[in-house]
């Protein structure tokens, strides 16, 4: 419980810092806060949009969290989700006429395989070539932008559109939503999928031998090696799985919303996933709540761009950065708070 309280405290501190900054820029912090909250939870459609933005963050947050448990820092979520989207688009365009049961399953599988391969490449380079996964995944991100940019403009081009996007995938791949909220917002069943996947990741990590071995590799690699665990294989498996979780972002975006691969659709879900995992303390349930907070900031800041003179949607990044910094340095603030309390008690 103590940990949850201190996390909430860090989040509040981060938001306060950001509001203080917006007042320096000449916007009333109370008004900014009001627009943020009203914009993300004020109406049914706002809630729908917030949950729509939450869904990809759950996937990328789980992706980073899973890799983290195996001692890996996956900054490559962005590239992995694009490669998942590319695989999904390829399947959806090349085999458009399937029945409505196998098509969504095939699409989800393709997204996972596409992302998984890209994660696996990073895992292989790390274990067998000794290249650090942070630099490798950043380079793989850039490479994936190139591959995807080329593919959607030359191989899967949308003949009826001038914007950089692929043709539409077959209708059988589309997944629906639930009720009124999905009619007025892009929220779709991927959100439910995300919750199931979160449960699956929790079960895998904390209830199976495989998950235990992976966590041991992450926390005590030498012990794991002596216990006869195949450390390298576990590392590669973790990166493949982590990549396939990021790949699932494509399901929400393409099968649930736009039906095509729009160039650069993500805008940083893979990177925000790092913050989500950190805030959620790499626990699946924590990831869900953290994704909800960051999804709300994402949606709320879009309203800020419309409703204020000076603030753009980029403020979301500033707020997320403040939250990350405060969560990452929590121990320091707790110590600081204690020292302050002691001083006050003595006085």
């Amino acid at each position: 419980m103590g940990k949850a309280v201190s996390t909430v405290f860090s989040v509040v501190l981060g938001i306060l810092c950001c509001l203080a900054m917006s007042s320096l820029l000449g916007e009333s912090p109370l008004r900014v806060l009001y627009i943020l909250i009203n914009g993300s939870f004020g109406s049914l459609s706002a809630v729908g949009y917030t949950l729509f933005y939450t869904t990809p963050l759950i996937f990328t947050g789980l992706s980073v969290a899973l890799a983290f448990h195996c001692g890996l820092f996956n900054i490559g979520g962005e590239g992995q989700l694009y490669m998942g989207a590319l695989a999904l688009t390829a399947i959806g365009i090349m085999a458009p006429e399937l029945d409505i049961f196998s098509a969504p399953l095939l699409g989800i599988g393709a997204a996972m395989i596409g992302g998984g391969i890209w994660g696996g490449v990073a895992g292989w380079l790390k274990t067998y070539r000794g290249s650090h996964e942070v630099i490798v995944t950043i380079m793989l991100n850039f490479l994936s932008y190139a591959i995807c940019g080329y593919s959607i403009l030359h191989i899967f081009k949308n003949p009826n559109s001038q914007s950089p996007e692929s043709a539409e995938i077959g209708n059988s791949y589309l997944i629906g939503g639930f009720g009124e909220i999905s009619r007025i917002s892009p929220l779709n069943l991927s959100f439910v999928l995300a919750l199931f996947v979160a449960f699956g990741v929790w079960f895998l990590l904390f209830k199976t031998v495989w998950g235990y071995e992976m966590r041991l590799v992450g926390s005590k690699p030498e012990t794991a090696r002596r216990a006869g665990i195949k450390v390298r294989i576990r590392v590669i498996e973790a990166m493949v799985l982590s990549g396939s979780l990021s790949g699932l972002v494509a399901v929400n975006e393409i099968m649930g919303f736009s039906h095509k691969f729009r160039d650069q659709f993500s805008g940083g879900y893979g990177f925000i996933g790092i913050a989500v995992a950190l805030l959620g303390r790499s626990k699946p349930l924590g990831v869900i709540f953290a994704a909800l907070l960051f999804g709300a900031i994402q949606k709320g800041s879009l309203e800020l761009e419309i409703d204020t003179e000076k603030i753009t949607r980029d403020l979301a990044g500033v707020m997320q950065a403040f939250i990350i910094l405060f969560v990452a340095s929590e121990a320091y603030w707790i110590k600081w708070g204690r020292a302050l309390k002691n001083k006050l008690v003595r006085a």
Binding site: M21, L25, G26, F73, I75, L125, R129, G130, S131, H132, V134, I135, V136, I138, M139, L140, F142, L143, Y145, A146, I147, G149, Y150, L153, H154, F271, I274, A275, L278, K310, I311, T312, D314, L315, A316, G317, V318, M319, Q320, A321, F322, I324, L325, A328, S329, A331, Y332, W333
Partner: protein, 289 residues
């Protein structure tokens, strides 16, 4: 064409050299620094913004260096004082800077994500001053480590901070000096981007160069000369992709697909890291509290 290629490769490697020298100082002191991207962004934005407002070259230089040192201070506070994870702090600062600059642009200039275009006489069209500064930075850092007491202490802070402590030297203060000096050097790379290579700041101007500088640093095994060689290699790869884009190379006379050609520097990075560098030994105390 060869001469043109080499010349443009050198120009393109300039921001990388400044950024990687900044990173070298920080990482040699034992602090992993992926906030190099922030230095480049803040340096290029501050230089261009100050130039647009004051039209003074000296003021733009000063402001850019000062702003980067402020970013360095923020990084120091979270990594050294608050003991947050170094990679995560660096990521967060990059995110912070990428969000802050567009908001400031909107507030100050009313433009979204860029500064007003600069006129010819407000830019530094001749890159030789930057080339000289870059050579000075590389040579200076080599001498700094081999000839100065502070350089030796910075080295020790990265390899064996305990030995420094037993001598009664403040490890955090040593690291802070290295990081702030590094920030000041890296800011020159940002200034070159917006005043030398470009005419003002454009959105996300550094385009990942901070990360490539980091790769060059690993490629150069945290040694100044080798790191500079790595930067030149990436600069030449970058120049090559610009040249290839204009030459018809496919059978039907079209140029090669731009996306792949643009990815060339990143592919080179990957191949170099995986194929030739292999397992490298980073400064021992890096990313440990």
């Amino acid at each position: 064409m060869n001469q043109e290629w080499i010349y443009s490769g050198i120009r393109l490697s300039l921001p990388l050299i400044f950024a990687s020298m900044g990173g070298l100082l920080s990482e040699r002191a034992g602090v992993a620094n992926i906030a190099l991207e922030s230095y480049l962004l803040v340096g290029s934005f501050t230089a261009a913004a100050t130039m647009a407002l004051s039209h003074s070259l000296a003021l733009s230089f000063g402001a850019a260096v000062f702003a980067c040192v402020l970013v360095g201070l923020l990084f120091c506070f979270f990594t050294l004082v608050a003991k947050a994870d170094q990679i995560i702090s660096g990521m967060a600062i990059n995110l912070f800077v990428m969000g802050l600059i567009p908001v400031v642009c909107k507030t100050v200039f009313g433009l979204s994500g860029q500064t007003p275009s600069l006129s010819m006489n407000e830019r530094i069209l001749d890159p030789s001053i930057f080339i000289i500064l870059a050579l000075f930075a590389v040579a200076g850092i080599s001498l700094f480590f081999s000839r100065t007491v502070l350089g030796l202490r910075v080295w020790a802070a990265g390899e064996n901070p305990e030995s420094l402590r037993t001598q009664g030297v403040n490890v955090n203060r040593t690291r802070m000096k290295a990081i702030l000096l590094g920030a000041a050097i890296a800011s020159l790379g940002g200034i070159y981007l917006s005043l030398g290579a470009g005419s003002g700041y454009t959105r996300n101007m550094s385009a990942g160069r901070g990360y490539i500088a980091l790769a060059a640093l690993i490629f150069g095994r945290w040694k100044p000369m080798w790191t500079m060689a790595g930067c030149l290699l990436f600069g030449l790869a970058d120049a090559l992709q610009i040249i290839i884009q204009t030459i018809p190379m496919m059978e039907n006379g079209d140029p090669l697909p731009t996306q792949f050609v643009q990815a060339l520097p990143y592919v080179v990075t990957l191949i170099l890291l995986a194929g030739f560098v292999g397992k490298v030994r980073a400064p021992s105390a890096i990313n440990k509290a």
